[in-house]
């Protein structure tokens, strides 16, 4: 087990190098002059362009630029954006918020999704099953921003007045529950359906029949034998989802004005802040890698047949 984890961690290094280089090259390969439009309706002053190009190493060949960037990164320097604010500082203010939001969203989608999936999986074709099927279909077909706007309109000051129109600068967990729900709503529907299918399939499996035949109580059959085995695809989905929720929360963050990673990366791409985009994506890559490692380790916990040696 320990060796397996170590091997996986070592694998992070080449993946990390490859992805950062790809991202770095892609950002600066966008066919647009980083200075066009920066200075309003007139072209930027040549001295400004010359000076900033010098600062950002834009005159060097791509590979040298990248290694200079990497060198700084290894000493903990993420670089600075055009407005002179260090990328490290921007990430460190946004990251905890996004992390909180992502975790809340995953918890919400996991708890509600799995419960709904188990209940419907056990009582196939009942009223509850149909209700969940229809409501998940509804959630899946709604784009996230519609969910966000509708909830804000009806729960905000113009509706039932139980939430604010946006969150504060440093939001508490309470404030993030609704945005978390919005963010997780789509995946929640998938989790419910995934769990349901998995449960329905495994109910007819041999080991479940054996457990029932052994006379074990219903709760134990469902909770230990059925659920644990059915959760493997769900956990896989949740693990990758955690990463995408953190990087892909652009819309939700915009709706509730949450100062998170999604909004930061969007702004970075729009304004060609290469260092900002690379810095964040590097971090997101790490989150993805660690989340998938965690998922792989959880397989072993859920299914004793899986061993890592």
């Amino acid at each position: 087990m320990g060796r397996y984890v170590l091997r996986r961690l070592l694998q992070l290094i080449p993946v990390f190098l490859g992805t950062t280089f790809l991202i770095y090259a892609l950002v600066w390969a966008i066919p647009q002059d980083p200075f066009s439009g920066k200075c309003g309706q007139r072209p930027c002053d040549p001295s400004y362009v010359a000076e900033m190009s010098q600062k950002l190493n834009l005159n060097d060949p791509l590979l040298i630029q990248y290694f200079k960037y990497l060198g700084n990164l290894l000493t903990g320097d993420f670089g600075t954006t055009f407005n002179g604010v260090s990328v490290g500082e921007q990430i460190s203010t946004s990251w905890p918020i996004t992390f909180k939001l992502g975790i809340i969203a995953v918890i919400i989608e996991a708890v509600i999704g799995i419960i709904a999936g188990v209940l419907t999986g056990l009582r196939k074709q009942g009223f509850l099953d149909n209700l969940v099927l229809v409501s998940t279909l509804f959630l899946i077909s709604l784009p996230v921003f519609v969910t966000g706007f509708v909830l804000r309109l009806y729960l905000g000051p113009q509706g039932f007045d139980i939430m604010d129109t946006s969150v504060s600068t440093d939001p508490s967990i309470g404030e993030l529950i609704l945005p978390g729900f919005v963010l997780g709503s789509l995946s929640m529907a998938y989790v419910a359906r995934l769990t349901r299918t998995s449960i329905v399939e495994n109910r007819r499996a041999d080991f479940v029949r054996t457990a029932i035949a052994k006379g074990q109580p219903q709760t134990r059959v469902v909770g230990i034998h059925l659920l644990r085995n059915s959760l493997i695809p769900v956990i896989t989905f949740l693990g990758t989802d955690l990463g995408s929720l953190m990087g892909g929360a652009i819309v939700t963050e915009g709706v509730f004005n949450i100062n998170g990673i999604g909004g930061l990366i969007f702004r970075g791409i729009q304004e060609k802040e290469g260092v900002l985009v690379t810095g964040i994506v590097t971090l997101l890559v790490l989150v993805y890698l660690l989340a998938s490692l965690l998922v792989d380790l959880l397989y072993a916990v859920l299914d004793p047949r899986i061993r890592y040696e």
């Binding site: 010359a50 055009f82 706007f149 440093d170 709706v255």
Partner: protein, 557 residues
């Protein structure tokens, strides 16, 4: 030079806002009966007890450059430096007329040498004196090429600018100080320009002409993190992408001091969310409203007398570049296209009343504006337009190029349709993905047809609507327009010390431009902002900024 705030980052926001419209239609209909028109003249007030130590929160966007006054050319950062710094003159919110702020007097007999006296006893936020040296140092810093200040070129009229900022970007500047700046005494300075310039006193109110304290030159890194100015507000703290906090500077004695304690500039990624916060009373001021609020004038129903209006220094036009052979000397074609655009209808429908039809090359509301300079050629007349097109001999297809985000596409598509219907020629809108991509085409002189040519003036002067755009080699003369007679008149006006006479000559130049029609004036934006119910009074300026001195906070009962 301010980057029209809608250009940079609103595509996503618009996507979201469109879908919202349908959801809010019902409450709007109900609330319509309550609608009332906002206060005129830029301000709006209501009755109530005032809180002199209150907090005001205003809409903001993340500054795009360092918070040095000469490096801030866009609205997000400009909002902050505007409150942090006070310049020699200020602009009246209503019409942009200048009045002395830090300056006691600005005098010149020949529009070339200006003698400036400062009001005594002014302090920076760190307690040091605001003296003539602090202005001279700041202007030299802005102009010196290796300092790479975005707005450094505004120092160009000052004598010796070429020595510190050579035209060739690779050349090393010969000096680091401009010879035209002289400190006479701590409260007096003398500025010599390289050529007479009658609007220089108006320029002095623009951001790059702010003074800088000694602390700036001692440690720029530290200053970047905590700017020190001489303005009505001082810097407290900043959370990137979230909040910038400013506080009243109690030693500030000038006319535009503020009547509240704390200013929170809240950074929003979506104008739509900010608008919701404003309606809910979580945000106190927005200088512009999102497109969804303008549909059907919904904002009037939402906000009633909290709506703020102002004239803006903006001029939207469609340019016909001279480097395109078909356009080169074809005035008749220009006139035909202009008369084929139904400005009245497009501003009312597509632009939802947030623009008004334009009838000249200078925006209404500033000194020197005259009604109807463009005359019949800016009035919709499809029959005459058709006749003119025939005379022009133009055949083929017309295109209008612009960035397509930020609501730029729709009105120009409408203009194209109007042209198509009136003239019977093909017309197509050609969109670039964003403002940067569009500017790259324009800067590279790679336009293949007509293009959007919007201008917001840097300072409130008729000069700023003409010199940068229509003078040969002007900094924003994207169409390569060149008329020696216009150049001569502009030069003459620049050198006329008497401001009223200078304006008359600028107007003559505008008349000549009207004959050539290098660009077709289409519409002028109206400033529409709003305040929350937490404020008793607020004002929107012609530069689309908050006039903080006019803000009054309502006491919480």
């Amino acid at each position: 030079m301010r980057n029209n705030c809608a250009d940079a980052g609103e595509r996503r926001e618009r996507l979201m806002s469109r879908s919202r419209v349908a959801w809010v239609a019902l409450p709007v209909a109900l609330a319509m009966t309550l609608s009332a028109c906002g206060g005129g003249g830029g301000g709006s007030t209501s009755a109530g007890k005032e809180d002199a130590d209150g907090t005001v929160s205003i809409y903001g966007t993340e500054p795009k450059s360092t918070l040095f006054p000469a490096n801030t050319t866009e609205a997000g950062g400009g909002k902050i430096t505007d409150a942090l710094f006070t310049r020699l003159v200020g602009y009246k919110a209503e019409d942009g007329a200048t009045y002395n702020l830090a300056a006691d007097s600005i005098e010149s007999t020949d529009a070339k040498v200006y003698k400036i006296k400062l009001k005594p006893g002014q302090k920076f936020h760190d307690g040091t004196d605001v003296d003539a040296q602090s202005f001279v140092d700041a202007w030299n810093f802005a102009a010196y090429a290796p300092n790479a200040q975005q707005a450094g070129s505004f120092m160009a009229p000052i004598e010796g600018y070429k020595d510190v900022h050579p035209a060739d970007e690779n050349a090393k500047p010969a000096k680091d100080k401009m010879s035209g700046l002289k400190v006479v005494s701590p409260t007096e300075l003398e500025v010599t320009l390289s050529a007479p310039n009658s609007v220089f006193p108006i320029m002095l109110g623009y951001q790059p002409f702010s003074p800088l304290p000694k602390a700036f030159f001692a440690d720029q890194k530290a200053y970047e993190a905590k700017p020190i100015g001489n303005g009505p507000m001082k810097f407290v703290s900043r959370t990137p992408n979230a909040l910038i906090k400013l506080e009243r500077f109690d030693d500030y004695k000038l006319e535009d001091k503020v009547h509240f304690k704390t200013l929170d500039v809240k950074i929003y990624s979506s104008q739509e969310t900010a608008y919701q916060d404003l309606v809910a009373g979580k945000l106190d001021f927005m200088e512009a409203l999102p497109p969804s609020a303008k549909v059907g004038e919904k904002y009037k129903a939402d906000l009633g007398d909290q709506v703020l209006n102002a004239n803006l220094l903006s001029q939207s036009a469609i340019a016909l570049p001279y480097y395109i052979p078909a356009f080169k000397d074809n005035v008749k074609l220009r006139q035909a296209v202009s008369m084929a655009i139904n400005r009245e209808q497009i501003t009312k429908t597509v632009l939802a009343g947030s623009y008004v039809p334009s009838d000249g090359w200078v925006s209404p509301g500033i000194k020197g504006y005259r009604k109807g300079v463009c005359g019949e050629y800016c009035t919709y007349n499809p029959d005459k337009a058709k006749a003119l097109l025939k005379e022009s001999g133009f055949t083929g297809k017309l295109t209008i190029q612009s960035n397509q985000d930020g609501g730029r596409k729709e009105p120009l598509e409408a203009a194209c349709n109007s042209i198509k219907q009136a003239l019977g020629v093909e017309c197509e809108f050609v969109g670039a993905t964003n403002f940067g991509a569009f500017r790259q085409i324009v800067d590279g002189k790679q336009l293949t047809g007509m293009s959007r040519s919007d201008w917001s003036a840097d300072y409130p002067s008729i000069e700023n609507f003409l010199n940068p755009l229509y003078r040969t080699g002007g900094s924003s003369n994207d169409s390569n327009y060149s008329n020696p007679a216009v150049d001569a008149l502009l030069e003459k006006a620049d050198g006329t010390a008497n401001p009223d006479e200078a304006i008359k000559i600028y107007q003559q130049a505008e008349d000549l431009i009207a004959k050539d029609m290098p660009s077709i004036p289409v519409w002028n934006e109206k400033g529409i902002g709003a305040r929350s119910k937490n404020l008793l009074a607020a004002k929107l300026t012609f530069t689309r900024d908050a006039e903080l001195a006019a803000f009054r906070v309502k006491a919480k009962s």
